[in-house]
Symmetry: C2
DNA sequence: CAAAGTAGTGGACAAAGTCCACCATTATGA
DNA sequence: TCATAATGGTGGACTTTGTCCACTACTTTG
């Protein structure tokens, strides 16, 4: 078991990382999108043809909230909806060319953001960072 | 330099950890406090006699926002302010007994929260987690 | 086929935070 | 030393982000 000091260190790390993620996530990268809006665009980008409900569920968002954001995106011509062939209640979401471009931008800049974060570290340190991230990811979120 | 896949993994980790911290930080531990309110209470708890501005700066909060929260705390008798002896504009903040108790509760439960998070890991895994956290903390936030 | 459930939307509201203006006081520099 | 700028603290007005509820249209289930 971890002792009190170690727990304190973890809490300190969590505060630091909360702050960092807050900055990273905040106003996302010169785009006019908020963090959640960005997630939605990327979700659709990487997985065309999703329905609003699927998007909401996968990103853990309120369906009403999601609906409003999608509507805004539609108005801004980032996406359009087509009726589902099998369920008349449901719709499929597709990015427009404009939406796709924005998604790509967002994706690239998110990568760049990580690179910028690590820019002052040596290649060895970057590797060390990466491995530590993988360790935590595996331990807490049991990926692969 | 890290390659594209590694960057992608880091971004995935960041999303996961954002979500985790969101849950940890959200409704803080049976107390009636929000995350920010909790931070303010703990900030004062660990560092009595701070001024509102110092609290705001240290936690990166708007001073107006901070002022309002402090006022609420004062009304709820969690703290009181005394005039600074050297600067008539300024005030020092002190927790009341009630405020101190709440801070202690918060502190304990924050520790407990971390323990709960790691409860399913073996002692070795917990140690591994701790070391990974320390690694990242050192690399990104250069603590000692 | 009746009843229950689901996709999607909108209204009303709340929480959290930002931005601006202001007063009182303090610090600065010509 | 005095005008000017800067700072601590507060409040009003507003925005952003999100929650909760209710409702319609359709679909699924027993």
């Amino acid at each position: 078991m971890l002792d009190r000091n170690e727990i304190t260190s973890i809490r300190s790390f969590n505060r630091n990382y909360t702050k960092l993620l807050g900055i990273l996530n905040k106003r996302v990268l010169d785009t006019p999108l908020s963090w959640t809006e960005g997630r939605i665009i990327l979700e659709i980008y990487f997985n065309q043809d999703k329905t609003p409900i699927e998007v909401a569920n996968h990103l853990n968002l309120d369906k009403s909230y999601t609906s409003r954001i999608l509507k805004r995106f539609e108005k801004n011509e980032l996406l359009y909806k087509s009726p589902s062939s099998t369920d008349l209640r449901s719709k499929k979401i597709h990015l427009t060319t404009k939406g796709t471009k924005l998604a790509q931008q967002l994706d690239e800049r998110s990568d760049q953001q990580i690179k910028d974060l690590l820019i002052n570290l040596s290649p060895q340190q970057q590797q060390e960072f990466y491995e530590a991230v993988e360790t935590i990811d595996k331990l807490l979120f049991n990926r692969k």
